[in-house]
Point group: C2
Chain length 476, copies 2
């Protein structure tokens, strides 16, 4: 749901393919007529550009409010929306509402600019850099800062409400960053799966692939080896007409493969395994797509139990794309997630290199090539990446001056490679959850949740309570 | 030298007059052919807009380097340049070079964008909001962050150098803010006369006038009363032709006063007293203009020793404008400081309200009128102020999450009204210097320095040493 971030890895690596994918994406602005159940829909007027005065435009940022459990002066639980329609995050994030009664908290889900209904220039928002150029994390943080300030001024009973930020994945990065950049506005943050270290020069680009491989290894020891051996087989088949025909039918592809499509097929599969690791939840879920419980285990079972490597791989692909049995054929040109806006962010400031070497991981060797990446971004968006800016703006690995941030991480989640995995101080607390995929702690509670996640949620609630008490005691 | 900030107060109050003054300002870009003695001139390429991608332009930001005392790995003393040509700050800021030998420090003076030679669009920089709109403190801080990152990568022996930021007045605010927003880049900051609380809603707009009045009161108890009584006298004279003639000759004005000029005359005098308090240094200095030691005492002496109130006031004005005896006549339409760029900042994000009530201070009653101010700004610059943005961006009064900032303040300095006057923690240290005007601690040492300033400098050096040691011990 919230995570097309895996595509980013590919964007960095196989440019022409991704270019094709991107150019087919859609950027329509849908306006829903009804509220999300339990939530009121509200809008706040914000500057398109908070940091300069060249552009005086403003727009309406959407946010959702649930004050069912709110008591006067109770905290505001503020979800810092990430790359998607905010309604999706409400559905996939149970923690805030589950904790709200204990705290008497108001729950806010704030939409990220250029997603969902929060379009600075309506239908024109994706037109060109003059319209899309204000899609940056720093501007989004400023939107949230303005919204928090406004809420405390206008929401009944909230004038002295401590605000606690929550987010998962890129939203988790935003939750961490808002505490770093605007600590007067948030008493603390829970940043789940926040890969704030996944930037050039501070995290090895192979780390993500290592964790993904480990997740498959843990599901079935022979699984990564089989996936690794598939690349040569696929490569060989791609060299002959019969082989291409074989691949086409084996993967039940919608379009007959040509030799030119081979890099795209490989990318599509690399992405597939990376996504599997990401969403390896212990119960049936529909996060990016409907899948059974422990999908990596299911996929690996298909892979290792099949005598033929490629048949196993193809079966695992079909599990992902056709678990419900509704999909007639698989389309390798169809993006895993359709949002265009994140692709733009990935081409500008959110440069999170991911690579693989084919030796220490189960993927083919895919180097990180910044200059080719830059060319593709320019061709697609007429912008150039600023690969080192995020490290300057968001403190690189030296976040010791920050405080009151919980960094939670699932050890199955490849994004954990770029996350804060060790506590850095009493108030920069890392929690690593065994057997947990991407921000599992934020999802609605489920009987199948592993003990690590149940424990993490309890620990998080206690820390949140402590920091809110400290905030109140300080009379801030 | 660095302080046209007083004008800002007036900009807020007497709009039409200031509009006239502003429109006479110059914005030429001078390029000096020679280096400042002891300093090498360097340039760093930075984005015009760090926070968006709508505008891909870059420009060269100037900085000055003195590495006379630098030892490999020694600290970088980094002056965060404020609203003026950076060369002026080198001349008026002795502390960095005086401390450099003890620390083996490299000294950097970084110029603020849109001042001196650091013009994003050359001669066109002041043309319209499309060119001038990127003149904001947040963009300037990002320039400095990029420069620090670059210095540590490229300057020989500086890869692991702790950076310590210094600044006075608006530059002091920038020094504080860079530690708040980019703490991974600076081990700590000395923020002198940094009125980071001088914003709407968090500091009473009359506070500045109170301190200015107190400074005059301390120089001569009868002085503020005489100045207060001057306003009615001036007002009465302005009502008749003979009175206007009398005023013109008394102040030896270049242009004969008309009734329409009366608000401008009052503004000019209000500004005069506010500036006097600001630069009440204990030795002859040429900060904004050449003046004797303790100029407020000198001015008050002229005021209280003169039987006629207005004669005394006029004599004090002539002391300020004609201490050297070179000025044939006084021009009330001439701004105290010629820079246009700060006026733009004062019309956009640096909204620092100053007012007076004529009862608890020695000034006429001048209310703060945001809507009139906004109209004048729009007429002049085609921009509207965002009066509450600075409080959102720079944490308002709740800076408790920050660390490693020394706030030093002179108790004669009216800007101290918006400064941090009490220590907020072990690492947010306030130093109030008795008998000191605007950032006297940063100025070159002088035998006439009051004991408070000598003590403050020693304390500052010890704290700087401690924080640098802590930074090194943490292995950051």
């Amino acid at each position: 749901m919230d995570d097309q971030r895996v595509l980013l890895a590919m964007l960095a690596n196989r440019l022409l393919f991704v270019y094709v994918v991107l150019s087919q994406g859609s950027c329509s602005v849908s306006v829903s007529a009804t509220d999300v159940p339990g939530y009121k829909t509200r809008y706040v007027e914000v500057q398109v550009d908070h940091f300069s005065f060249a552009n005086p435009d403003t727009f309406l940022l959407r946010y959702l409010v649930n004050d069912t459990y709110f008591k006067d002066g109770g905290p505001i639980f503020f979800y810092t929306g990430n790359e998607g329609d905010i309604e999706g995050f409400v559905k996939n994030t149970g923690l805030l509402m589950e904790m709200a009664p204990r705290f008497g908290a108001m729950v806010i889900f704030a939409e990220h600019r250029y997603y969902g209904q929060s379009m600075p220039y309506g239908e024109e928002s994706f037109k060109d850099p003059a319209h899309l150029g204000y899609l940056t994390s720093t501007q989004a943080l400023a939107d949230f800062a303005v919204l928090i300030t406004r809420l405390r001024k206008t929401a009944s009973g909230a004038a002295n409400s401590p605000v606690f930020a929550f987010g998962g994945s890129y939203g988790g990065m935003l939750a961490a960053w808002i505490r770093m950049k605007y600590p007067h506005l948030v008493a603390g943050s829970l940043a789940s799966a926040a890969s704030i270290f996944q930037y050039p020069g501070i995290t090895d680009c192979e780390a993500y692939s290592h964790v993904a491989t480990r997740t498959f290894q843990r599901s079935a020891a022979g699984c990564p080896g089989r996936i690794r051996s598939s690349w040569d087989i696929i490569d060989d088949l791609g060299k002959t007409g019969a082989g291409l025909q074989n691949l086409t039918s084996m993967f039940r592809l919608c379009e007959r493969l040509t030799a030119d499509d081979m890099p795209a097929l490989v990318d599509w599969l690399v992405n597939l395994w990376m996504i599997y690791a990401l969403i390896d939840y212990p119960y049936p879920a529909n996060f990016l797509t409907p899948l059974p419980a422990w999908p990596v285990k299911e996929a690996c079972h298909l892979i290792v139990s099949n005598e033929d490597v490629l048949s196993g791989v193809a079966a695992a692909a079909k599990l992902y794309f056709n678990y419900t049995g509704q999909t007639a054929c698989l389309d390798i040109s169809k993006p895993y997630y359709g949002g265009l806006a994140w692709q733009y962010q990935a081409c500008t400031e959110q440069i999170e290199p991911i690579c693989s070497d084919g030796v220490n991981d189960m993927f083919p060797a895919i180097p990180w090539d910044l200059s080719a990446f830059s060319e593709a971004c320019y061709e697609r968006w007429k912008v150039r990446p600023r690969p080192h800016w995020a490290v300057t703006e968001y403190w690189g690995r030296n976040i010791s001056a920050a405080s009151n941030i919980i960094f939670s991480n699932g050890d199955l989640d490849p994004w954990s490679a770029g996350c804060v995995l060790k506590s850095l101080s009493d108030s920069l607390v890392a929690i690593v959850m065994e057997d947990a995929a991407h921000h599992l702690d934020l999802r609605p509670s489920n009987p199948a949740d592993p003990p690590s996640v149940i424990k993490a949620r309890a620990q998080e609630a206690d820390i949140i309570e402590k920091w809110i008490q400290e905030y109140r005691a300080a009379g801030l």
